[in-house]
């Protein structure tokens, strides 16, 4: 049994607008049999934080194109993407790419 873990979620580049404009969310993921991974976190976010228009955030079981995911200040591609196993106190950032100039 994996213990509950507290993580810090951040949204930026406009992605925060899907979460009532709040850039920072401190959340606790409940205890479950398996350790939490990013794939499960995306489902959890969809169920608990993102109530409307999920297509602006997720596509299939990953994030939609144009959103960069950072795990503890590194591109999630370096960390195993959806398979990354979350640790207590992890900092996860979802940043929408900007195009304006």
């Amino acid at each position: 049994m994996a213990a509950p873990i507290a993580i810090h979620l951040e949204f930026g580049g406009g992605a925060e607008l899907l979460f009532e404009g709040l850039k920072e969310h401190r959340v606790t993921l409940p205890s479950q049999l398996e350790p939490w991974d990013m794939k499960q976190l995306l489902v959890w976010i969809q169920r608990n934080l993102l109530k409307e228009r999920p297509e602006l955030f997720v596509q299939g079981d990953s994030v939609r194109p144009g959103i960069l995911v950072l795990i503890n200040d590194a591109d999630w591609e370096l960390m195993g993407e959806l398979e990354y196993q979350l640790q207590d106190q992890d900092n996860i950032v979802f940043i929408s790419t900007l195009h304006g100039g």
């Binding site: 959103i67 790419t97 195009h99 100039g101």
Partner: protein
């Protein structure tokens, strides 16, 4: 043999053209040395940059404060003077980029923009002045740069970067700064830089945030390595919709100029596999370690499928401009013109006017007697807003004391969101609210300002 002759003849003709172009330029300069830079509306072959063997006394005086830096020194300054930089977009990012590169003594500056200066640009595009309104941005920027440093060679291009001209243009420069404002141009510039082997210093800004990365630099990733699939068009916000605080692209453009100068002078950039994020609200910069170059990348990978430039507007599903596109979601009987709405007002026809813009825009300007419920609140069925709507409709019903359905007219800035709102309201009609007839006002408040009331503000 015959082939060689043909080839040599072609080469000679090209050289003749180059000589003629140089003669023209010389004659023009001798005639009027302070004349405005010549504006190009197509890509032209440029002569190689003249290599300065040493700094002149004037150079030493002008650049003395940066020559004192061991990181730059005389060697670095000479390298700057031998470097050409193409600035794609002369807007909020491009202006400070051009300004600082010229001030620092870059050799040649290509300034590209298809657009003209407008009043709503001036809060962030700080090379343009009030007197430049209506002028090509590329020319306006080039004139400002020339006033700052006449020793920098400026090449203004008044054209849209396209798959047809991008390679020919980018091949002629050493470094490219992407200061554009839309998704298709960002992919186009990236692919052209990868195909011609040029480092790409890219920045972007929106609202109170900015991002910067150097792509295709010293074996690092390209834009496509990070974003292999373009974002769905409906998720992309531009500055004219989302707004931007002028100083934010200013800061990002300065940052871009810094990285260009470091690359040009030989110090090198550390942003090659790094994303710098700037949050103006929290006054915070953050650097993120990015993925390396991706072996599976479509343009810079091992088996690249993109070997020539494509139709990027089709690839991204959006136009290569930050101007608003016009949606057509409704049939003509679901819409009325601003003139028709004016006559409804004049005849005091009972109706409800629903303004679906966000509150921040309603604060800028609104029509009297309109009820404000933002589109997002309608979509999310916000209960306090639904209550307001119900009250508005029942008040209208009392006024009409009658048999026909109450009319609701929906307005927004340009007539896009109002169409979406009509679709939402039609779903709600008869279930979540009383039966209503809903139409949108085509062209929105900006059409009202243009066609009905010239004193109504435009933004």
């Amino acid at each position: 043999m015959a082939e060689d002759v043909c080839c040599l003849k072609a080469k000679l003709r090209e050289k003749d053209r180059e000589i003629a172009a140089l003669r023209d330029k010389l004659a023009q300069l001798e005639k009027n040395p302070s004349s405005a830079p010549e504006l190009h509306n197509k890509v032209i072959p440029l002569t190689p940059l003249t290599v300065k063997p040493a700094l002149s006394n004037e150079d030493i005086m002008r650049y003395s404060r940066q020559l004192l830096l061991p990181e730059l020194g005389v060697k670095g300054q000479l390298k700057l003077s031998r470097t050409s930089v193409l600035v794609v977009g002369c807007g909020g990012l491009g202006c400070p980029v051009a300004q600082y590169l010229a001030a620092a003594g870059i050799g040649r500056l290509g300034l590209l923009d298809y657009d003209e200066v407008e009043l709503s640009n001036l809060h962030r595009q700080v090379l343009h002045g009030e007197e430049n309104q209506g002028q090509a941005k590329a020319l306006s920027a080039a004139s400002a740069v020339r006033r700052l440093n006449s020793t920098v060679e400026c090449v203004p291009y008044h054209l849209q970067l396209s798959p047809e001209n991008a390679l020919q243009l980018i091949q002629q420069y050493d470094i490219v700064a992407d200061c554009s404002d839309n998704v298709p141009t960002r992919y186009l510039v990236n692919d052209a830089c990868v195909l011609s082997g040029k480092p790409l210093v890219s920045a972007s800004a929106l609202r109170m945030e900015g991002q910067l990365t150097v792509y295709n630099y010293r074996g690092g990733p390209c834009y496509r390595c990070l974003y292999p699939v373009p974002p769905p068009p409906e998720t992309v916000t531009n500055c004219s919709d989302g707004g931007v605080l002028g100083v934010v692209p200013g800061i990002m453009g300065c940052f871009q100029a810094l990285e260009v100068l470091k690359i040009a002078s030989g110090q090198g950039s550390s942003c090659g596999q790094q994303l710098v994020m700037f949050d103006a609200q929290d006054a915070r910069f953050r650097s993120i370690r990015l993925r390396p170059k991706q072996p599976g990348c479509a343009v810079c990978g091992e088996n690249a499928s993109v070997t020539q430039l494509l139709d990027y507007e089709a690839f991204c599903g959006s136009a290569a401009t930050d101007k608003c596109r016009k949606l057509n979601l409704l049939s003509t009987n679901q819409r009325i013109t601003v003139q028709e709405y004016k006559s409804i007002l004049d005849n005091a026809g009972p109706h409800l006017l629903l303004d679906v813009r966000p509150l921040v825009e309603v604060d800028i300007c609104h029509l009297p007697l309109s009820l404000n419920i933002p589109l997002s609140s309608l979509e999310d069925r916000k209960s306090d807003h639904l209550q307001l709507l119900k009250e508005g409709i029942s008040k209208l019903k009392q006024q009409m004391a009658g048999d026909c359905q109450p009319s609701v007219y929906v307005i927004c800035k340009q007539g896009n969101d109002s169409q979406k709102a009509v679709q939402v309201l039609e779903k709600m009609s008869g279930s979540e609210v009383d039966n209503i007839t809903v139409k949108d006002i085509s062209g929105g408040l900006m059409a009202w300002a243009k066609k009905i009331d010239p004193t109504f503000p435009q933004y």
